[in-house]
Every structure is written in C-alpha cells, then in structure tokens.
C-alpha cells in the first residue's frame, strides 16, 4: 500500500511536470509579446527592450523554463508581469473562493443528479423519466452566461432572496452554486439512470426481485452502488471542468475566484499567473482523479487495487 501510494505520488509529480512543460512551451509559442503588453502604447523600443531584459524574456526557452522550475521547487510561482506581485499570494487569496464554489456546485449537481437519475430509472419509460430526461437536456444545452443571468434576474433582482453579487456569506454562494449545479446535474442524472437501468436488468437483481426483496432494498442495496462508480469518476472529471469552467459564473456573480484571475492574465499574457493557475488546477484535477481511483474499490469491492 505504501509502495502504491508512493508510486502515485511520483506519477502525480510527473504529470505536473508534463503540464508545466507543455504549458510553458505553448505560452512561448503564443504570438504575443508580454513585454509589449506591459510597455503599452507609448513605449519606445528601448523601454520594451529594457522590460524584456528585466523579465528575462530575452533568455533562451530552456534557460527560462529551468529558472522557472528552480523557483517552483522552492515553492515560488514567480512574480506577475502586470501586477508586479507574488503569484503565489494572488492565487492563495483567490483559491478558497473557487474551492468553496466548486464544493457547493458539485454538491448540488450530485444530490440533484442522483435524485433525478434514480427517479427516472425506477420509473423508466414513464412521464417522470421523460421529464427528467428533458430537463437534463435543457440544463446541458443552456449557455452558462444566460442561465446565470436568468437566475440572477429572477432570484436576486425580482425576488431579492439572494444578494446579486459578492462573496462572504452563505447567501452569496447559493446562486452561483445553483447555476453550476443545475446545469451540470443533467450529466449525473443521465449517468445514474443509465447505470441503474443496466444493473436493474442484470440477473442477480432479477433474482433478488424474484426472491421478494423490496424495491427500495434493491435500489439502494444493489442498483445504486453500481451507479456510484461512474458518479465518482464523474466527480473526478468535474473537478477539472470546474477549474476551467467557472470563469463565466464567477464573472456574472462577481465571485473572487481564480477563474477571473486566469481570464485577465490570459488577456494580458501574464505568463507567471497563467502558469500558476494552470499548475494549481492541474494539481486539483490530478488529486480529484486520484481520489476517484482510491474510492472506486471501496465502493465496488470487486475492483481490486492493482
């Protein structure tokens, strides 16, 4: 077990290194000059050259990457080009907000999705099933921006149940989490429904039913655990989606998370911030998947850890 864990830690480190290398290369290939962006419109060629030199952008790619890695090994994510401040501090100030939103959003998704999925699977072919399926399509096809604004308009502007924008109290998290959760629940509902129907049709469930086990017992003891496997994998995936997909929701609700930070950094070609956010979100994704892999055998004992 210790060996297994160690192996995964090493794998995680390698994945992060890979992400860092590819991202660095891509940013380097990007036809946009950070020194130019900082220097702005009125700068002379001399000013731009000076800024480029001060930032070390005149160095060869490998030298730049190596010095970035050296900083990274010491836990230093570098300094933002545009904000001239420590990237680690910028991310640390915003990461909690994104994590809260992510946790709340996934919670809404899973609860809503599993509930609807079970309902649909049990009433397969009936009205409830159709309604759930339809609703899941509405959720999945809705553009985030419009959905977020509609919710905001109804619940914050018209009904004034929740604040329109900001961060701090539990009331602030409701609408953004609901936006993410309602739109994403469709995936869970469909996955759960599919997995459960698959199980409900299997021989041992039929046997159980034939033996006279109650439906509730069949659903929660036999069918749902089988659906848990894809759900857990889905949560692992969701973490990845959330890290890159919260930009719009954060923007609409004025949520001070890393999505907004990343978006602005991309506009300004602020490479240290882009690198920092990428690495932090890559870490979150890898950890999410690791967790999914560890949880899978616990949920489904038939999967033995390899």
């Amino acid at each position: 077990m210790v060996f297994l864990l160690l192996r995964r830690v090493v794998q995680t480190a390698l994945i992060l290194l890979g992400v860092a290398a590819i991202t660095f290369l891509l940013l380097y290939a990007l036809p946009a000059d950070p020194a130019r962006m900082i220097a702005g419109r009125s700068a002379t060629a001399q000013t731009v050259a000076n800024i480029r030199r001060e930032l070390g952008l005149d160095q060869p790619l490998l030298v730049q990457f190596w010095s970035y890695l050296q900083g990274l090994f010491q836990g230093d994510l570098g300094r933002s080009y545009a904000q001239k401040t420590d990237v680690g501090a910028l991310i640390a100030a915003r990461l909690p907000a994104t994590l809260i939103l992510m946790a709340a959003g996934i919670a809404v998704e899973v609860v809503l999705g599993v509930f609807l999925g079970v309902l649909a699977a049990v009433r397969r072919g009936g009205f409830v099933d159709r309604a759930v399926m339809m609703a899941s399509f509405v959720g999945v096809s809705a553009p985030q921006f419009v959905a977020a604004l509609l919710l905001l308009y109804v619940f914050a502007v018209t009904l004034a149940w929740f604040p329109m924008s900001g961060f701090g109290t539990p009331a602030h998290v409701v609408l953004p989490a609901l936006t993410l959760g309602v739109l994403g629940a469709g995936w869970y509902a469909r996955m759960v429904r599919s997995a459960m129907i698959d199980v409900l049709n299997q021989d041992y469930v039929r046997t159980a039913r034939a033996k006279g086990l109650s439906s509730a017992r069949i659903i929660f003891r036999h069918a749902l655990p089988n659906a848990l496997l894809p759900i857990i994998a889905m949560i692992g995936i969701d973490i990845g989606q959330f890290m890159s997909g919260v930009v719009v929701v954060e923007a609409v609700y004025g949520w001070p998370g890393i999505g907004q930070l990343a978006w602005q950094a991309i506009q300004q070609v602020d490479i240290p911030i882009i690198m920092g956010v990428t690495l932090v979100s890559a870490l979150a994704i890898v950890l999410g998947n690791l967790l999914a892999d560890i949880l899978a055998p616990l949920v489904d004992p038939r999967i033995r850890a390899r």
Partner: protein, 539 residues
Amino acid sequence: MFKSWLRNSTVATALMLAPLPGFAQDAPKQGGDIVITYKDDIATLDPAIGYDWVNWSMIKSLFSRLMDYTPGTTELVPSLAESFEVAPDGLTYTFKLRKGAKFTNGREIVAADVKYSIERAVDPKTQGPGAGFFGAIKGFDDVTGGKTTTLEGIEAPDASTVVFRLSRPDATFLHVLAVNFASVVPKEAVEAAAGDFGKKPVGSGTFILKDWTVGQSLTFERNPDYFIKDMPHIDKFTVEVGQEPLVALLRLQKGEVDIAGDGIPPAKFLEIKNSPEGAEIIVDGQQLHTGYVTLNTKVKPFDDVKVRQAVNMAINKERITRILNGRATPANQPLPPLMPGYDKAFTGYAFDVEKAKALLAEAGHPDGFETILYSTNTDPQPRIAQAIQQDLAAVGIKAEVRALAQANVIAAGGTEGEAPMIWSGGMAWIADFPDPSNFYGPILGCSGAVQGGWNWSWYCNEDLDARAVAADSMSDPAKAGERQAAWGKIFTDIMADAPWVPVTNERRVVAKSPRMGGAGEIYVDPTRVINYDAIYVKQ
C-alpha cells in the same frame, strides 16, 4: 509668480478661470460614500507602472504631480507646483513647489522627491511603461542605457525648487509632467513596500488607499490634508472589481452601485436610454478617441495609395454608428474633434462606392482582391468588423475577418508583413495627454513602424516626421497657435496618403446613480475618465 506662469504657459487662457459649465447650477456638496464597479481587477496602483484606463484615474487621485488639468477639461494648471518659468530657449523649466504640501505619511514634499520619482519611472529596473515620455530630459539615454540611475537633467537646488534641463525643446513637456508617470512618490514608502508599492501606495493626492481585498474591493478615503481646500468632495469610495457590466447595471438600477465604471453594454444601452430614468443615469461624453482601420502600406495591394483611398471611400461610417446605437460619430481624420489642432473644415473621403470601384480598377484590381481584417473579440468589435467586411465586399474586396484576443492582434500588427488590415476597436488610440503630437509618433510616425511597434500601417513619411519634429520644437507659448495649426496640417496631409481609414469618434458612456452630481465632463474626463476629485453626491 502667477503672472509669470500666465505669460509662459503654453496653454494659459482665460478659460481656466471661468467656472465650469454645470458647476454653476448646483454647487458641489461635501461628504458621501459611494460604490464604483469594474470588470477587471486593479492590476497595480504604482504610478510608475500602472497604464490601463481603469487604474489611470485612481492613480491620478492617489498621487499629485507638478502639473494637472482643470477637471473635465484639457486645460493644464499647476498642481503640486505653485508656479513655473520656462527659459526663452525652451530648454530649462524651473518649478517652485507649493508650500506645506505633504505625503499622506505626514512628511512634507521636497524637490528631491520630484527628482527621485521621475528617475524611478525612467529606471529600467522599475519595468515601467512610461519611461519614453521623459526622453527630452538631459541624461535620459544614460539612465535607460543602464549607465547611471540619476538623471543629470533634473536638479533640486533647494527644497522647494526643481529645475529641468532638456536636451531638445519639447512643446509637450508640461503635459508630460501631468501624466501619471510623473507622480511624486516618497522614497521611504517605496523602499518599505519592498517591491509591492503597487499594492501599498503612498502619495499626496486627494485620496488615500485604506483597504485592498485582492480580487474583491478597494476602499479609498478622502485625504484631509490635501493641499487644495474643498477637494475632493466625497469622503470615501469603494471600488468593487470582478463585476460583470450587465450585473453592475442591474445593481445600479437597484441603488447598490453609484457608478458602473465599464459603462453600459450595447445590449442594455437602448433599454436604459429609452427608459424614464435614462437621462439621469447615462453620462455620455466625448473622449480623445478615434477608431480606425489600419491599411498596411507594406502589404500588397495596400502599398498602392489608390487602393488605400478606395477603401477609405468604401466604408459606410454612418451605418457603423447606427450599429453602435449612435454612441459614436463618423470620423474623417486621425485627430478627434476635442483635440487641439482638429480641422473642422476638413471633409476627408466621402462614402462613394462607385468612385471606390473606379479607383480600384485604376489600380489594377477591377475585380477586387482577397485580404484579411483583424479585430479583437469583444462585443461590439467583431460586429463592426463584419460591417466593414460587407462594405468591402460591395466594392469587390473579399476580406476574411479574424477576431482574436487583443494580445494576438497587437502582436500581428507589430509584425512586418503580417496583418493587412486591423480594425482598432477595443484598443484604439486614446490620448495620454491632450496634445496632437500624442496622436502621431507611435501610431503614424516612422519610429512606430518597427517590429513590435504600434504603427500598424507601417506608414513612414520622412517629410512628415521632419515637420512633426519642427512642430514639437515650437515650445515658445507665443507660437502655440501656430504649432497647433502645423499639427493639424500634418494630420490632414497624412490623409492624402490614406494609411488609415478613420472610422468613428466614440463617445464614452458611463452609468451613474441619480444621486451623483456634477457635470458630465467629470465622469468622462478627457484626461482621466472618472475624475474622483470632482464628483459629488447630491443632498
């Protein structure tokens, strides 16, 4: 001394003494606590570094400079300086500092602070974008070249006197001393902040930064010791960042927000404008802005002046202003109407499809040609690019629209032979200071037509460059009018070569709550966008 200023200033007019329009009817009230929103986070408040339109106005209010502008106008006035004198040769400027002006850390401002601040802005180690503004000061090249960190052209003979010696006459020098990069900062605070001065600014302006919650809000409080009495009017303002413009507007309508800094998004503009409270909410003012299409003179077929002229005639600017819901007026020359030197009599190229076609045929393209039109990707820019695309198609030019992130468009524009046409919307030239020379060098002069430059037409006319240098050497205030006329002529003469299609002069639209008072000009201040010093809350 004041007399000497009047005599010597390039811009002194009776106007500065006259009351501002709008101020007369309702006198500013003291007090109030307001909320302002922006979409983008504030990058930095370091005056040597900050250079975007959002932090520009905040830095203006946190710090003071030798020179400044009367709120809402383009009139230069001494600010931290009490008076100044310009030597007849235009090479020496002597400033007397205002007595008793203090930094908000309590220390009195001395002449050495001015010297330190400008040297800091020029020092390559600062990585500031504004170094080039001070190019006329003696010893500039030695500092940017890294030979020394002190500018020999700035002297502080005593605590209240600063002397600037220039290596060449620069008629814009007083404006240069009013840009943010010339803000006076206390050395001890810069050093104490250890590289984080942009987050912990200390100045001598109208406001003090009290609190900064990263990614959420900044709180500014009135500086009680500001050296001009009864300035500013509001006690406090909170800037909330990360606010989507549409939501900011909804919040403003609900009374949660006083100024929506990003203005009114196109999707909401007509609804608000036509609503009963629209007139009270919308502030719509002219700014020093021209939106243009650059025609790359180094890319075929735009190397042919006839083709460039034809394109100038092909674009229906009236329709574009309609797409912008009337928030812009058609432009016919590079300078915006508010800029000194703007030629009211000039008519430019009229919209004329037939003539455009004839010119194209003359140039050997009777069936048009294929090209690429770059644009940024934020609404409404891709829409305007598509409108231009349709106009070009009408004369046979098939332009592919490429809507990209701003940084990529800027990079393409600064790469020789890369971008045939660029619609400047979203990154168009807004002047750093209200002087026509600011509209020439980087964007139309030879010095900008270099790798990574902003002269995306790659237009270089040595003759005009020489005339520009001559105009900027006329630093004698008596020749101000002559200089202005010379500049105006340069810009209308450029249009004969047609490196640009001047398309629109966009007005800036800001949304404010009904309780906010003051003339529109101080919300759309030509030199600083929102003038936090002058706005006030009605009681």
